[in-house]
Assembly symmetry: C2
Homo-oligomer: 169 residues x 2
DNA sequence: TTGGAATGTCAACAAGGCTGACATATGCTG
DNA sequence: CAGCATATGTCAGCCTTGTTGACATTCCAA
């Protein structure tokens, strides 16, 4: 992008990379890749009477222990009724613990129990294994590009949430 | 992260790019980006009493006009009952046409009508606009990496379907 | 002619979204 | 202190989109 003048190969690429055909390929790549992305955890969850929604909650509670319900709602982008249904089962099953806030007692702070952390590991190990294989196949430069494009694709709110998590809230 | 003496920004990256932390970032990037990826079509579809399932069917029928139901089932990865419910409404609403096969009359070949193509355009224009913006922000080299990683993340079956579509079935 | 493939359809069910309404605690502000 | 706002939980009902199982029809191919 910032090299001087273009070689012909380079220029062709630059001129073509915004064609509808290229964009369509990216769209289909996202579609098919997302299926692979969720496939392994989904298989594990199916045996446990849990679904993708439980996985997401567990992931982000593990990521930011002590996070509040409101926080989680903002990250997950669902209604509190929808999240609550999921949290209720996770708490009932002893995977998540909900503690009343100390400074503000209206808030509930969420933590994984040991059992919750065990499931989280199992799920994220599976998902990371696929990610690791993909990263290895593609190489570090491809990975940098991958993240750049994904980040540019996010809504502003989500990009902020992503960066906050990434850089340590 | 990228300062420094060593060409080692590079070497650090190479050594670190398979850490769990890097993998987790990729996982979260996929999660947040996929939300953005589907957001614009979802908004359009909400007004039309259609959902993401209709969008997917319309997309792949447009992509491969005359495709059979079985073909579509393999690509979408859902049951025929689930797909059929979607196709029935699209056919009833005059967006999709189903023609009995000529060589094999058991097969149904699916085509978009003019109205179907109009909706397809509306949906994919919205999705492409976001993709285009992301591509432009990230640049052609990032885009190449993006596609490489996504392709490596797919299940084998899906990768085959993706490549077949990409290279012109 | 017969088996199997491709398709369509019915019924029932579940997950996980949604809205709307309402209850309870708690914090904050005038 | 009164009253409003905030954070959370919960009930009820609805929708989409996935699932399984069963069954009918049509038609190709051995």
């Amino acid at each position: 992008m910032s090299e001087g003048r273009m070689t012909q190969g380079n220029m062709g690429e630059s001129l073509l990379f915004l064609t509808d055909e290229q964009l369509r390929q990216g769209i289909e790549a996202m579609f098919f890749a997302y299926r692979g992305f969720t496939a392994d955890p989904d298989r594990i969850l199916a045996d446990l009477a849990y679904g993708r929604a439980h996985h997401r909650a567990i992931h982000f509670i593990n990521r930011a222990p002590g996070t509040t319900v409101n926080n989680l709602l903002a990250i997950l982008g669902v209604t509190k009724q929808s999240l609550n249904r999921v949290l209720r089962t996770l708490i009932a099953d002893g995977l998540v613990e909900s503690r009343v806030g100390t400074s503000d007692k209206r808030e509930r702070h969420l933590y994984l129990t040991d059992a919750g952390r065990a499931l989280e590991s199992q799920l994220s190990d599976a998902q990371r294994a696929r990610m690791r294989a993909a990263y290895r196949d593609a190489g570090p430069e491809a990975v940098a590009g991958f993240k750049q494009v994904l980040e540019a694709m996010m809504d502003n709110d989500m990009r902020r949430a992503y960066v906050r998590l990434r850089d340590g809230s």
